[in-house]
């Protein structure tokens, strides 16, 4: 019963108000499990893009 309640809460709590699509609990779990990694990789990527843009600007100014 405890597990049933947990599963039910999981499904209910994760559905947006107007969702008509079943996102799938496995799909939610993958997103949650990968969230930290995705955020970190994306932050590094953004930072690297900023550095590249900054270098590019400096280079153009020098020309």
């Amino acid at each position: 019963m405890k597990y049933f309640t947990i599963a039910a809460l999981l499904l209910i709590s994760m559905r947006p108000a107007h969702a008509y699509l079943d996102g799938g609990s496995g799909s939610y779990i993958v997103q949650m499990a990968m969230a930290g990694m995705l955020a970190m990789v994306f932050s590094v990527k953004l930072a690297w893009q900023r550095i590249k843009t900054s270098i590019s600007r400096t280079h153009h100014r020098g020309q």
Binding site: I6, H18, G23, Q31
Partner: protein, 463 residues
């Protein structure tokens, strides 16, 4: 007054599409009111429409609602021709995927998120993908995972990965699985070495395994998942990761049977130009001026462009994914707006599929075209596929009102090639037999030999 609800628009309780006296409308239900207001007030809808990413719609008088109780009624611009993902070439599906992700990124910036990511939400106007489901947006609640993540992977990423890494023809799996290719199936078909690709590892292999494992999960892992949130940064990271994975997938059309067709024909340059002129002349005599042309067996669209360059919406159907890919890439590079290349096997054309056989229409249900081109096609249907000439005439009469068709006699080297490895069981395949068979369904308006060949071009009108 005729109101007809679009049969494929039934899943979403927030609204539906219908036609009223032939014009397209979308009824927005009160349950979508808050999201609709946010979509408008945030400026997201206007920005996406201005940039041509979202089909243009304007608010219409509420009295035009299909049923009482509408929150809003939208008048929606018509897409010239509705096509489906299993008819797209690799780059069309890839561009549709990238459009969906671009829209999701822009939606998040404006405090919204896509609540579905079906490939059927995308249509093509020429070579330009356009998102057509105005009600796909919902308020973004930070911390919530993306409800449409699995659907995106099933509709876009899995078929693209299979087409790129296993076989281009696997796009046809989308005809069987209308809600996209199950990820566990895709994972089982993809080479194991692709697990070294971080994007495919996460979004296909791990995602597929998790889908199977937690389909009926009620365990502690599911509980732990509830304790983690997907931050906005992680959500943007997810979309970025999907985009990177999609962008890295590629497929180059090789020298397939039809991809090099024009280099392998028995036409001289003069004969080809004469045939183009004849087609142009015949097309020019058709009244009223055609609005939709289907070029069946279009290859890379050489003859389709006779119509599309006159701004006639033209669908260039071909069986070869390489020819369709080349045609689409050419359309993209030149920005052609009236030509839509699509894949079709005319011996087994797209059927009506989905709920009650009505969710997605068959090829013929999306016709008839005003004019059908059937150039260098009849011998393939009659000899390679054993269709009697009367059967070919029946089919083409269902496909269009006017017909520009080429008869290729047995003496032609292309027909000789088809007969080289099989017995000639086609005594009726003669020019007289062709005219007799087609006379039952069409009136022959004009015919002319194609100079420099043994072929004849006909202009016919359906009886």
């Amino acid at each position: 007054m005729t109101i007809q609800r679009e049969p494929g628009s039934f899943r979403d309780p927030c609204g539906f599409v219908y036609t009223r006296d032939g014009d397209i409308y979308r009824q927005v239900q009160p349950s979508y009111a808050a999201n609709y207001d946010l979509l408008q007030q945030s400026g997201l809808a206007a920005a996406l429409m201005t940039d041509g990413l979202l089909v243009r719609s304007t608010e219409a008088d509420i009295s035009l609602a299909a049923y009482p109780g509408a929150y809003r009624v939208l008048s929606v611009d018509r897409v010239p021709f509705i096509s489906y993902p299993y008819e797209w070439c690799f780059s069309q599906l890839k561009d549709a995927a990238l459009l969906t992700l671009e829209i999701q990124k822009r939606a998040i910036e404006k405090g919204m998120s896509l609540r579905d990511s079906s490939a059927y939400n995308v249509q093509f106007v020429g070579a330009k993908p356009v998102f057509i489901d105005t009600l796909s947006f919902e308020a973004y609640a930070e911390g919530k995972p993306w409800v449409a993540y699995r659907q995106f992977c099933q509709h876009f990423l899995a078929p693209l990965a299979l087409m790129a890494h296993v076989d281009i023809r696997l796009s046809q799996m989308l005809r069987i699985w209308i809600d996209g290719i199950p990820l566990d199936l895709a994972a089982s078909l993809l080479p194991r070495k692709l697990m070294l690709n971080p994007g495919l590892l996460t979004h296909i292999f791990v995602h597929g395994a998790a889908g199977s494992k937690y389909a009926d999960d009620s365990g502690a892992k599911a509980k732990r998942a509830t304790e983690t949130r997907v931050s906005k940064l992680a959500m943007l990271g997810l979309v970025d990761s999907l985009e990177t994975t999609v962008r890295k997938l590629s497929w180059a059309p090789g020298g397939t049977e039809w991809g090099n067709y024009y280099a392998n024909t028995n036409y001289t340059d003069t004969a080809l130009k004469s045939k183009q002129q004849l087609v142009q002349q015949m097309l020019g005599t058709i009244q009223p001026a055609p609005k939709l042309v289907w070029d069946l067996g279009a290859n890379t669209g050489l003859f389709s462009r006779i119509a599309s360059t006159q701004r006639i919406n033209t669908v260039a159907w071909d069986i070869d994914p390489a020819a369709v890919e080349k045609n689409y890439l050419q359309c993209k590079s030149t920005g052609e707006g009236a030509l839509l290349p699509l894949t079709a096997d005319l011996t087994n054309p797209a059927p009506a599929i989905g709920w009650n056989h009505q969710e997605r229409k068959s090829m013929l249900q999306r016709g008839p075209a005003n004019v059908v081109f059937a150039l260098a096609l009849v011998h393939h249907l009659a000899i390679s596929n054993n269709v009697p000439l009367t059967g070919v005439a029946d089919y083409l009469a269902s496909a269009g009102n006017w017909l520009i068709i080429e008869f290729v006699p047995k003496s032609d080297s292309q027909v000789q090639r088809l007969l080289a490895s099989r017995e000639d069981i086609f005594p009726c395949y003669t020019q007289d037999g062709f005219e007799e068979a087609f006379a039952t369904r069409f009136e022959i308006k004009h015919s002319a030999p194609v100079p420099g060949t043994e072929r004849t071009l006909y202009l016919m009108c359906r009886r």
